[in-house]
Amino acid sequence: MFRDAWLVAAKDLRIELRSRIGLNQIAPFALLVLILFAFALDPDSGVLDKATPGLFWVAVLFCGLLAIQRSFAVEAADDNRDALRLSGLAPGGIFLGKALAVCLELLALEVVLGFGVVLLYSTHASGWGLLVTTCLAATAGIGAAGTLYGVLAAGLRVRETLLPLLLLPVLAPVLIASTRAFEAARDGNPGQGWPWVGLLALFAVAYTVIGAVGFGSLLEDS
């Protein structure tokens, strides 16, 4: 199963590297969101600085939606989904592979966004251990839940509008927990942040298990 996962992840990442959709469209969109936040919240009033952790994670969620939709759009073209079904790969492996590819893309985006907030919002990053662990746990949760709900919406004509409605309420706890953990790191008391990382890890594990078990029957239908 893990070999299958690696094959699918490598395939998705290779497509992304060659098509450069992530680099040319999603990353610039992420930076655009950061700039729009600055327009909406006056940079001189200090609100932007206070709200940075939340804005960072809202931007990650928006980009995550795009990455997940993209992850299933590449399977929709030329009936690739049928090829995937017929390939004999373990469905759990396909799920893990697609989730892993989305996670790696999002982690790269988080690096870009991280530089963005440091440069544009003059944020001082501190508590690196907590920051990195939060990113890893939250991204794993977004990738796993996103891939599960992504395949639910895949194949429907209205998937672009349906996926945000299905996925964002489910990801609300991830937004709360990752924002609180980042705030704890920024305020210099990482002790308050670690319980939130625990919640994120629990979320990621739960959705990874559910997705790996339930993905097969959903892929059949889509």
Partner: protein, 262 residues
């Protein structure tokens, strides 16, 4: 266009009796809540809204529980009965959640001075409503009945766990900012307690009555969906039979037409 053995309505003797009992109980419940029970020491007459609000929110939770239970049993037994049960429970849960928010906000205005506070309970109820809207949206997507049933069953199965996770995280989030949540007064008058219990029973009656009717309607829709093609073919054949000069038109779905190609 309908099956010959389809009933004309969703009522039966049982539901009519249940309906009458529910109506009588509603009248008695309203009398107890609005007239017989005393006003609260702190909340005054605003407490009377809670006799409506608490049964509604309880039934919203019952609906969510039924939806998840029905979804799990559908995935296990693959029975359409459970699929329909899960779908109609979620629909009722959505209606009751919306009513919970409306009655809660009306109660909040005189009690807290504002319609909305970022209280864990309010926030997670709003998130519950959004999760149910997502379920309703995917339920309404046109697709094969079996495909739709399986997709919605996964969303329904995750409904209660998601509500739980959202509720825990929101509670935890707010507990960092404010002390305690505003709740019911622990000391409660005997008649007030009886009124609340009685109105909970009334809420359960209303919910059951609605559930039975909605379930029967959904089942009829389900049968119509299954028989639609057969009925359409039968109608076309009957139409052709009524005009003997015209050869019967073959059904077009999945069957090659006999029209000459040029």
């Amino acid at each position: 266009m309908t099956s010959t053995d389809a009933p004309a309505g969703t009522g039966s003797t049982g539901t009519r009796v249940l309906g009458l009992v529910t109506l009588a109980a509603l009248a008695l419940g309203a009398y107890l809540a609005l007239v017989a029970s005393p006003p609260d020491e702190n909340m005054g007459d605003a407490v009377r809204l809670l006799y409506l609000h608490v049964p509604i929110v309880t039934m919203a939770y019952v609906g969510c529980g039924l939806c998840t239970l029905g979804s799990a049993l559908y995935l296990w037994k693959r029975s359409e009965w459970w699929d329909v049960t899960a779908a109609v429970s979620a629909e009722l849960a959505l209606v009751f959640t919306a009513l919970t928010l409306v009655t809660g906000m009306i109660w909040g205005k005189p009690t807290w001075g504002t319609y909305w506070v970022w209280d864990p309970r309010l926030t997670s109820t709003a998130m519950l409503g959004l999760l149910l809207l997502g379920y309703a949206a995917i339920r309404r997507m046109p697709s094969e009945p079996v495909v739709r049933a399986r997709r919605t069953a996964i969303v329904g199965l995750l409904l209660v766990p998601n509500v739980y996770i959202v509720n825990r995280s929101v509670t935890w989030w707010r507990s960092l900012h404010q002390g305690t949540t505003i709740g019911l007064q622990p000391k409660i008058h005997d008649l007030m307690f009886f009124t609340l219990m009685f109105d909970l029973l009334v809420g359960a009656l209303v919910f059951t009555w609605l559930l039975i009717h909605r379930w029967r309607l959904a089942w009829l829709e389900h049968e119509l969906e299954l028989n639609e093609l057969d009925d359409a073919i039968a109608a076309r054949r009957a139409e052709a039979g009524a005009h003997p000069g015209v050869p019967p038109t073959p059904p077009r779905i999945g069957v090659p037409t006999t029209e000459p190609t040029t």
